[in-house]
């Protein structure tokens, strides 16, 4: 197209963003699962929480 020396418009690297996105996904899923199990264990309704 143009004869100018343009950057090719491609993202180089960026693995830190990828790892952050997967990391926050893992943290939220594990954290929420843990919160569910802990809250269930805290209720004494006479039934054994599994």
């Amino acid at each position: 197209m143009s004869e100018m020396a343009m950057p090719e418009g491609v993202i180089a690297g960026g693995w830190s963003y990828v790892l952050s996105a997967y990391g926050i996904t893992a943290v939220v899923f594990i954290g929420y699962a843990w919160s569910l199990l802990r809250r269930r264990a805290a209720v004494s309704d006479g039934e054994e929480p599994k």
Binding site: M1, S2, M4, G9
Partner: protein, 154 residues
């Protein structure tokens, strides 16, 4: 029976309110007051009115229009909607994906000399995800669809 009827009525009212609000938002013409960015044609048509106000301009980067200062601080390019184009002066480092033919949304002000000055340059990519070597060539008409100029002209 009375309890049963009350429950049915509450359900129906809640559903009616829900449907009503959605219908109003979808068909009530709120979109006209909700223009996220202007097209170059709209910006030029508004004439003096648009000068000085903080607005967003959207379009594709015109191929062959990109000029960079040797020091890399100033960037100039044209934003086009296929009909009109506006020259943009950006004093910002563009996102890595910035290139000819990509969609951009720039926030800033229109100057009296017709240049659009921006400090916030955002890349608006389309919905295509291709592996290297795949995908369509630079086709401005096809790429223009991602700017949704037709849809929003309601």
């Amino acid at each position: 029976m009375n309890e049963r009827r009350r429950r049915v009525i509450v359900t129906l009212i809640a559903l009616a309110v829900s449907a009503g609000v959605l219908g109003y938002l979808a068909f009530g013409g709120i979109g006209e007051n909700l223009v996220y960015y202007w097209s170059p044609t709209e910006l030029k048509a508004s004439g003096e009115q648009a000068v000085g106000a903080s607005i967003r301009l959207g379009g594709l980067v015109q191929p062959g229009s990109i000029e960079r200062d040797p020091d890399g601080l100033k960037l100039r390019f044209s934003v086009t909607d296929g009909v009109e184009s506006v020259r943009v002066a950006a004093e910002t480092v563009p996102p890595a994906m910035f290139r000819e033919g990509i969609g951009v949304v720039v926030e800033g002000t229109l100057r009296t000399d017709g240049w659009f000055e921006t400090h916030r340059l955002m890349v608006k990519h389309d919905n295509e995800y291709a592996a290297p070597g795949e995908g369509q060539e630079l086709d401005m008409k096809e790429l223009m669809k991602s700017m949704q100029f037709d849809e929003s002209d309601a």
